[in-house]
Symmetry: C2
Subunit: 225 residues, 2 copies
DNA sequence: TTTACATTAATTGTCGACAATCGGAGTCGT
DNA sequence: ACGACTCCGATTGTCGACAATTAATGTAAA
């Protein structure tokens, strides 16, 4: 997968990955205080590397640091998620537009094959996992890679990718959207194949808007309960 | 100004600001090796805070760290700048679209007054400084603030803002573009006043595309010499 | 009982020293 | 002379201890 955890490198990187995982999966609650000494001991390292890891996670927007008051896990409230999806719409829309002019035919074909495998997965497992699984993220990131824009890849890959996954872990997925989502993916791939960047951008932006609407409604239903 | 340097807070933050300034202004050359011990002594602090500062600057894309090999100032080559402007086009375009629906009338009027002061500045000083000065950035960031999107504000303010300034310090500005740029700003403000988000986005994207074309051509001319 | 203040405990910020790793100078062999 | 190997210096990575700041607790006065 994309930015997975190679258990190697400096201790700060290891701590960063482990903490990111714990935060994304919810093992560490939102807004929870992160005690440096405690975490350092749990990870079997000094406080130095751990502080660097916290600084890194702050850059990824997974924790919020307040001077002389410690670090806390970020709180994914409605406003934050809304902001995230607005940014994603802009960034991935642009990625789509550019990718239409820079991806090779082979890459686009590979994208279609990826969708085929997703469709098979849906048929087999009944369609409840597609939009939830990491497969959806694969599709999106393949297009981002196709834009050949390193900055976009960094932003959407390393940083927002984690917040995105955090969203998914917290919000109950509704399986109704898996088939329309796949259909929209197919339309986007088709637009890319036709080298119609403008259309691809519009479709991607609509796709992300739809995803946000779905999540937004799910949250509303949840809070009404 | 926006993220200015409050000479207070933790040493790591101070080092981060001072280093960022030195990098943006070119005091530290592109690709230059950043020696931890040397910088720590120059700033009169230990290596701990300095390492945290480097981690922070890495998140801002101002330095590139390689494990066990130290940190170097980022190299702003053509590709990197191109990527930056593509991202800016997407982000600021979206900011414009949203700002059209969320800015208050008073904020938009203030935007117009800002442009008035810019025009006066051009009349006085002959028009060579506008696009180069920070005034241009003020206009752009006011709109970003108008989007009410915290993530956009962080991305464009704290992070890309520095790379953007770095671009400006390095590329020779051509004064020919200052008046068209002001005119485009006026059109954008007008679209915001009319609450036409779609138009405002298109205008902003064209504006940034134009700025990139200008810089791109300047670089081409420079390299031909 | 409540509020204000002072003392204390805990946590963050910082420093200096030690260990691990990498790059390069120098040397040896072919 | 060229290449590979070895050793050494320099730099990064890490740790433990100390200082400074914050938050909390308890106490005393209104």
């Amino acid at each position: 997968m994309l930015p997975n955890t190679p258990q190697q490198g400096t201790l700060a990187d290891i701590a960063s990955h482990r903490l990111a995982h714990s935060i994304v999966t919810g093992e560490l609650a939102q807004g929870q205080k992160l005690n440096e000494a405690e975490l350092a001991e749990r990870f079997g390292m000094g406080r130095g590397p751990l502080r660097e890891a916290l600084r890194h996670l702050e850059g990824m927007r997974l924790v919020k640091r307040i001077p002389n008051a410690g670090a806390r896990v970020v709180v994914l409230d409605y406003k934050t998620m809304s902001d995230l999806y607005e940014v994603r719409e802009a960034l991935e829309g642009m990625a789509c537009r550019i990718a239409a002019t820079r991806m090779t035919d082979e890459e686009i074909n590979q994208l279609s094959r990826l969708l085929d495998s997703h469709e098979m997965q849906i048929e087999q497992q009944g369609g409840g996992v597609y939009s939830q699984s990491e497969g959806d993220l694969d599709f999106h990131f393949q297009i981002v890679r196709g834009s050949r824009n390193e900055m976009l890849m960094d932003m959407l890959g390393s940083e927002q990718y984690q917040l995105q996954r955090m969203c998914r872990y917290r919000t109950s997925r509704n399986a109704q959207r898996t088939r329309p989502a796949l259909q929209q993916h197919r339309q986007i791939a088709e637009a890319l194949l036709q080298r119609d960047g403008e259309l691809a951008e519009i479709l991607m932006r609509r796709h992300i808007q739809g995803a946000w609407r779905s999540i937004s409604e799910a949250i509303a239903r949840e809070q009404k309960t």
